[in-house]
């Protein structure tokens, strides 16, 4: 009897302490504010847009601190003979309107995204999906597709069939029903003028009620000041603010190197169509000096093979181009250029002049003036290449890149610590035609073949060998030159007991933002 009484007391205390630790709200600052309404067809095709949707819509599986963890699917397996993935769904999973989430919803979602593409993911390689009972789904591939788990299993939001089966025009569907998901938070408001978002905890969430009752995103001109004054609980910060914030009692977390700044090269026109000339550029550019002068030393020199040095498939033997101006000069002279008394190269009386385009750089989620261009200009001029530096607005520069109306341009992108699919997207024009960050380089047939092959190779070890070779060939051909990985940091107030973290390989298919919903799930 006394032990029963003791257990009752213990349970009551546990319940009381859980209630006491329930957080009223979490506020996150963001300098832009507008990332679209949080559903697959309304959010902006950028990381912050996907993150805002991820609170509302759950995926089959999800990336936790140490790789994939169950989400809607509590277990999954792959049958190589049938080229089929089987997902066993959590029977407790529910939609925000109270209806149960069943296998038909997953089957429907895949079919719906085939009919009405959700551009964040591609379901082209899925031939069909089959519901086995209420809680088992088998997804058949039309051909082997290595990025299936990161691209679809861990990124594709599952839609409620009972709502979306009647929606013919998803882009125009924006009633409250369009935001009914199965995630830990219900979407309540997106104020487009103020750039604010409000979410409320979904008490019936299948993994238990979330830790905070309300989740709020606010737009802030100076997120750092908002954080320091206590207006918000979390904000992305610039690396040089880390130490003062730590001394102020904030917790500062640092991301792996999943974003790279790189020099885009118009390899379709002379002299950049010469691999040797591109290699000369690489020798002429001092990556460390860019980091030191433009970023006060906060950053890491990038691998010339594109994939992050933190990636498990990073090839440490990737060809490198240590800063060597003599080598750069010799290569350019070998290519038939002669130096004038002023120190600049020319060929047949025509000076070697290149145009270098730059636009704003994104640091800590904020758009800041570019300084990399000036450093690169000085470095190239030091070896005799005259540089016209042109600073322009982002979309104007993107348009020029898209139309190949440029010589050199400083750009950047993330995803390099996620699935190696990024290599195909950022190298081959077959996968990256729509991206200005893609080199769209098809000159090397061996490289093209490997880029195709790595997408089909389901054996991780074999795929790793292919990815190693891709990095070697890419670094040898240099259709673009990776420059450095900037330091990406987030600071948060520890008072509310939440442990935010950067997800290895990025959230979903590679978003380097420290707002993984796991942090708010009990």
């Amino acid at each position: 009897m006394s032990s029963v009484f003791f257990i009752v007391i213990l349970i009551s205390c546990a319940a009381a302490s859980a209630a006491a630790f329930q957080i009223r709200e979490i506020r996150i600052a963001d300098s832009s504010g507008n990332w679209g309404a949080p559903n697959p067809y309304h959010h902006y095709p950028r990381g912050p847009g996907y993150i805002r949707m991820s609170w509302v819509f759950d995926t089959l599986i999800w990336k936790g601190r140490n790789g994939y963890i169950p989400a809607i699917a509590q277990s999954w397996s792959f049958d190589a003979d049938k080229q089929a993935f089987t997902f066993n769904l959590n029977p407790k999973a529910k939609w925000h309107d109270g209806r149960p989430l069943i296998s038909e919803d997953v089957v429907f979602t895949l079919a719906y995204f085939k009919k009405h593409p959700y551009h964040w993911i591609s379901v082209d390689k899925v031939s069909r999906a089959e519901a086995k009972g209420l809680h088992t789904v088998i997804v058949y591939l039309s051909k082997p597709y290595a990025p299936f788990l990161p691209e679809i299993g861990g990124t594709m939001p599952v839609l409620p069939k009972h709502i979306w089966e009647f929606v013919e025009n998803p882009e125009m569907f924006n009633t409250p029903q369009a935001f009914i998901g199965s995630g830990p938070y219900r979407f309540r408001d997106f104020n487009k003028a103020r750039g604010t978002y409000l979410y409320e905890a979904f008490a019936d969430y299948y993994q238990g009620p979330p830790k905070a009752d309300r989740l709020i995103y606010v737009r802030s001109g100076k997120p750092l000041i908002s954080l320091v004054t206590g207006e918000v609980d979390m904000a992305a910060i610039q690396a040089d603010m880390a130490e003062p914030l730590r001394q102020n009692g904030m917790i500062v977390i640092k991301d792996e190197r999943g974003w790279n700044r790189k020099l885009m090269i118009n390899h379709r026109k002379p002299p950049f169509d010469s691999r040797q000339f591109r290699q000369a550029l690489a020798y002429a550019i001092n990556q460390k000096e860019i980091i030191d002068k433009a970023h006060r030393g906060f950053g890491t020199r990038a691998s010339y093979g594109l994939l992050s040095i933190d990636h498990e498939m990073y090839n440490p033997d990737t060809p490198a181009y240590p800063y060597d101006t003599d080598k750069a000069v010799k290569i350019i002279e070998f290519l038939g250029y002669r130096r004038s008394p002023h120190g600049f190269f020319s060929q047949n009386g025509r000076p070697l002049t290149v145009e270098l385009l730059v636009s704003n750089n994104i640091i800590a989620g904020q758009s800041v003036a570019d300084r990399d261009g000036e450093v690169i200009q000085k470095q190239l001029e030091a070896v005799g290449i005259r540089v016209d530096l042109v600073n322009m607005e982002q979309t104007t520069m993107d348009t020029k890149l898209k139309q190949w109306k440029f010589d050199l341009a400083v750009s950047g992108h993330g995803g390099i610590s996620g699935d190696p699919r990024i290599l195909s997207e950022m190298i081959s024009s077959r996968y990256g035609a729509g991206s200005v960050n893609s080199a769209r380089y098809d000159e090397n047939t061996e490289l093209n073949r490997l880029l195709e092959e790595q997408m089909r190779e389901m054996d991780p070890e074999k795929r790793k060998a292919i990815v190693f070779k891709i990095q070697e060939l890419y670094a040898w051909d240099l259709p673009a030159i990776s420059l450095y990985y900037p330091e990406s940091m987030t600071a948060y107030a520890p008072g509310k007991g939440i442990e935010w973290f950067y997800t290895k390989g990025g959230i979903g298919k590679g978003i380097p933002i420290a707002q993984n919903k796991i942090s708010l799930i009990n």
Binding site: R27, A29, G33, N34, G36, A37, Y41, H42, Y44, P45, R46, G47, Y50, P117, H119, W120, E171, M172, N174, D189, N191, K192, A193, R194, G195, T196, L198, I216, V218, R219, S220, G221, K222, I225, S226, V228, T229, E231, Q394, T395, T396, D398, T399, K400, L401, K402, S411, H413, G414, E425, R430, Y431, A433, G434, S435, V436, N437, S438, K509, G510
Partner: protein
């Protein structure tokens, strides 16, 4: 004003309105790049060539100016590509904040600048005038971005008296009275920044106008009649010095879209400037066209209003028609 003058004025304004509507429709289309490039080309999404063609077809609805004009008459201002919402809804969502911030900044700075300008001009040659003109000239030269950032650092970061961003505490649960207080609390710093920026110009303009008016014979007559100084200052002199200030007020209000962009950015204050800035960044053509049109029509309306205000303030203007 005669009836024929009214008709003439209305015709001119109607024609100007039509030209401005065409310009608002056509000029934004000359921006380099389009929505699909801006939104997708450097995003986390890598589109295939086919997907890009489909998206471009979806977001490019070339209907022609005639159709655009007809839609405007039906109060259909278009549909934003980025927000997937009607343009008119977005403008109406941002407009109250712009009116609150810019409207109060202009009214306060005009009133204070006018009063100070009148008083200083009346004490021409005195210490107060020398100090006032010196300080105001310096203040006039400081850009909003400078005062805004300094005020933010002092009053937000160090003193912690005011919030750093926004027009209100987002989603706070307040009583109506607390809500008013919260909005006012958020308004003070951006408002003060703008008042500091607009006040010197109003002051210097009023002082210069007053200096001219005070030399007029009718002022000497008023003094000779033994009228009290305050009556001479305000009823006789200041009223005549008001016209340039009203013109300045009208012109400033007309630029309400871009007028507060810097302050809106520093304090993350919502408004038409931020909406326009974001629309241009993603080449959201319908939204850019809508805001430019709204801004153009506002300029036209303010000008029309000023025609009548001038007549009311100075009957000589009315008689000129």
């Amino acid at each position: 004003m005669r009836k024929s003058s009214h008709i003439q004025l209305a015709s001119v304004y109607l024609l100007a309105g039509l030209v401005m509507t065409y310009a608002s429709y056509q000029v934004p289309a000359y921006l380099p790049g389009d929505f699909v490039t801006a939104m997708y080309s450097s995003s986390n999404v890598t589109l295939t060539a086919d997907q890009e063609i489909r998206l471009r077809a979806f977001h490019t609805r070339e209907e022609g100016f005639k159709s655009y004009l007809l839609n405007l008459f039906r109060l259909n201002w278009g549909y934003s590509h980025a927000f997937l919402a009607p343009v008119s809804d977005l403008i109406l969502e941002a407009l109250p904040w712009t009116l609150l911030l810019l409207g109060s900044a202009h009214l306060i700075s005009m009133f204070l600048g006018f009063m100070a300008g009148v008083e200083v001009a009346w004490r021409r040659g005195g210490f107060l005038e020398k100090i006032g003109v010196g300080c105001m000239t310096v203040l006039e030269g400081i850009p909003e971005i400078g005062t805004g950032v300094v005020l933010l650092l002092v009053f937000v970061l160090y003193l912690g008296w005011f919030p750093a961003s926004g027009a209100e505490t987002a989603y706070a649960i307040h009583t109506p009275l607390e809500q008013v207080g919260d909005v006012a609390h958020h308004l003070i710093l951006p408002l003060f920044t703008l008042v500091l920026s607009y006040f010197p110009g109003n002051f210097l303009l009023t002082r210069a106008s007053m200096a001219m008016v005070l030399k007029e014979q009718f002022i000497q007559t008023a003094r000779a009649k033994g009228l009290p100084p305050s009556r001479i200052r305000y009823a006789h002199a200041a009223r005549n010095a008001l016209l340039p200030l009203v013109t300045r007020f009208g012109l400033r209000i007309a630029f309400m879209v871009t007028g507060a962009l810097v302050v809106e950015t520093i304090y993350a204050y919502p408004g038409l400037g931020t909406l326009m800035f974001n629309a241009i960044a993603v080449r959201d053509l319908p939204l850019i066209q809508g805001i430019v049109l709204f801004s153009s029509l506002t300029i036209l309306f303010i000008n029309l209003l000023l025609e009548y205000v001038y007549g009311w303030l100075d009957p000589r203007v009315k008689d000129a028609y």
